[in-house]
Assembly symmetry: C2
């Protein structure tokens, strides 16, 4: 047990060490194909080798380590997460999954344990999509769904992805070779901080993820009529902000009371934006997510119906633009059951929750059944320097993953 | 009648001519103590003299013209409005009242008509307060309520008002001498564009103002908790924007159905302001106006009670700061009656309405009973280059004011 607590300590030490690799002093930012990407990859590949794995950087810059099973060349259980970050990031989002997986393998290796399957650990090169505004680059390359047209996308520094990949020392036209075959992977498992408050609220260190919620985003514009705040009677107003307030209430109302459904208005601007002028135009965002696509689609229909009714009643012009949509990715029930068993074995109650945030598993689902383990993070804070996970929770997470690995039973149903 | 239509044409010509005097080519901006102030004053003083008035610039830069009555030195009926503008202004807000009054006097003079009272026309130097963020400078100087401490206020160009007044060629310490005595003024009458849609809605060219509404303004802050739009369940949110939406609805609800009461949320900011982040902090303005102080005060109490209830229910921290307050200024009933009679004499229906915008009459009420005539303006638009009044409405306004002047009966009750 004291050994295992040292396991958690080592994970935390490495989280700190990796968190030092940033393009900005005093602030963590690490984007793909940068010198920091290279330094971080070298560090992770070294840790993989120390853990007894064969390690290499693949064609898109993923750090890939392989721990052979009882015989070489067996299909693998793939564990992973990403090691790029958002700007001014926390240290835990991504690296916790990579480092914990490496330490679990190290624990097996220390004990000389070989399983009837290989274990691979992947640190994905880019999940956040900060540099090229396109997420899941690393996992989509492994899943074989990397879109080559992205190579022409330009980052903020003016370089295209193709130029950045070349400057990084990789061959853009070889990225397709990072793709893996479905038959070589039993399952993909990702351990990640929750980035939300549910586990904290339930006082649990870890939880089983049911699905990565699908999301739809909209940009809504309401046009009314600006006017003097003192001279236009209430009955003659076409106040775009009063209309937007009704819409915000409708989004909230339609999303309450349904498990796994959330709706958010995060951005709003009112023009002309003066204390003494009735807003003539308001623009706001709507973000709807649900762990089941049907629920999300029904909610979208109801919310848009509400918006149309509000705009008609208030004589406002309504413009609706869909800016993003992705469907729900389910975590496989057989993996959820094995994760739940591992959590129980650690003496914790099992709770299931959807992931409202996106993860590499979304891309990996194209090539493997996926499962996810969430780890409690302080105050549910993420994408922020205050992001934190207690060492005791790191321990619970590492032991859960280790128990899961050691007891992993591949899915027996035939694959189509 | 054709003569009188020429009266309206001349007013419109002069509106255009004065509207050319601007600090910015192609855009109307005219602030106090500027070269444009001087040029506009010279033009207006010339018009006053052409109309048979003795004209001078007073100690704060007002243009003051006097048309003596049957004997010299009689108390006056004072007519006026302002000739400064907001930035990127319309041509009508202020000048219409000054120029129409001058043309009415010119009409009397052409007919050789002398009344049993003097008529004074004042073009106020600063009503909008653009340069020193302090309104009603001209009228407060005449009312004897000019606050000398304002001389130390700095404008955007870095000059204090004292320096600006000196550079303009006036003596700051002499401003007190612009003050007039109550016993010398029978009443103050202002003709002004409505700056709102009520007369247009009622298809009337002119209306009687009942009062200049009092106004209270607040800055409201709601603090909740920012969070990931996907990972925080609806039940665990402290969404400051959802709370603000409830507050905006409450402001509107409390202000509907009461004549002369209006409430506006014109400014709003939500932080951090990202599509995928729950707003943790929202700041918004509330502007409440009513033609009766008691109604405004009752409404404030109810709205603030609503805001406190909403914040408590949603577990948001609420901060309320009052940023502005001024009481209602009533138009004297005896003047409203005489204005109504003049409107009727012109063949128009009489409608009464409050002024939700501020006017020089607010300051003049300290020294005289006040009355106001509103003139229809297109689409209710003001403080904008599109501000416009039809010539037919200018004619109706000029004839109303002329009829009022010719039939004016001073108040007979003893003054205290």
């Amino acid at each position: 047990m004291s050994d295992r607590y040292r396991l958690a300590d080592r994970i935390v030490e490495r989280i700190e060490e990796l968190g030092e690799i940033s393009e900005t002093p005093g602030m963590l930012t690490r984007v793909c194909f940068s010198p920091e990407h290279r330094r971080a990859a070298d560090l992770i590949l070294g840790w993989m080798r120390d853990a007894g794995m064969a390690a290499r950087m693949d064609e898109i810059g993923n750090a890939v380590g392989r721990y052979e099973g009882a015989q070489p060349g067996l299909p693998c259980l793939m564990l992973g997460s990403h090691y790029d970050t958002v700007r001014d990031a926390g240290k835990w989002d991504g690296p916790l999954g990579v480092i914990t997986a490496i330490e679990c393998v190290a624990d097996l290796a220390r004990r000389g344990l070989r399983l009837p399957l290989a274990i691979e650990v992947v640190g994905f090169a880019d999940e956040e999509g900060v540099r090229f505004s396109s997420t899941l680059l690393g996992s989509s390359a492994i899943a074989g769904t990397f879109d080559k047209r992205l190579l022409d996308a330009k980052g903020r520094d003016g370089l295209t992805m193709r130029e950045a990949v070349l400057a990084f020392g990789l061959e853009p036209d070889a990225i397709g070779r990072a793709a893996r075959k479905r038959c070589g992977i039993h399952a993909y498992i990702e351990l990640h901080i929750e980035q939300g408050p549910v586990l904290e609220e339930k006082d649990l260190p870890v939880g089983v993820v049911t699905a990565i919620s699908g999301a739809s985003r909209f940009r809504i514009e309401l046009d009314g009529r600006a006017g003097h705040a003192g001279t236009v009677p209430m009955t003659l107003r076409r106040d775009a902000l009063a209309g937007a307030a009704d819409c915000i209430a409708a989004v909230e109302r339609r999303c309450c009371g349904v498990a796994g459904l959330v709706g958010t208005v995060g951005q709003i601007t009112a023009e002309p934006g003066a204390t003494n002028v009735i807003p003539g135009r308001v623009s706001f965002s709507v973000d709807l997510r649900a762990s089941e696509d049907q629920i999300r689609e029904n909610t979208i229909a109801r919310v848009l119906e509400d918006l149309r009714e509000i705009a008609a009643r208030r004589n406002l012009r309504l413009a609706i633009a869909k800016t993003h949509e992705c469907g729900t990715v389910q975590c496989a029930v057989w993996l959820r059951e094995q994760i739940a068993a591992a959590i129980k074995a650690g003496g914790h109650s099992v709770t299931e929750l959807p992931s409202g945030a996106g993860h590499d598993g979304m891309a990996m689902a194209d090539i493997a059944d996926i499962g996810m383990i969430f780890v409690r993070c302080r105050d549910g804070v993420s994408h922020h320097p205050d992001e934190h996970t207690e060492t005791a929770d790191v321990e619970a997470a590492a032991l859960t993953l280790l128990h899961f690995i050691e007891n992993f039973k591949p899915h027996t149903e035939p694959r189509i």
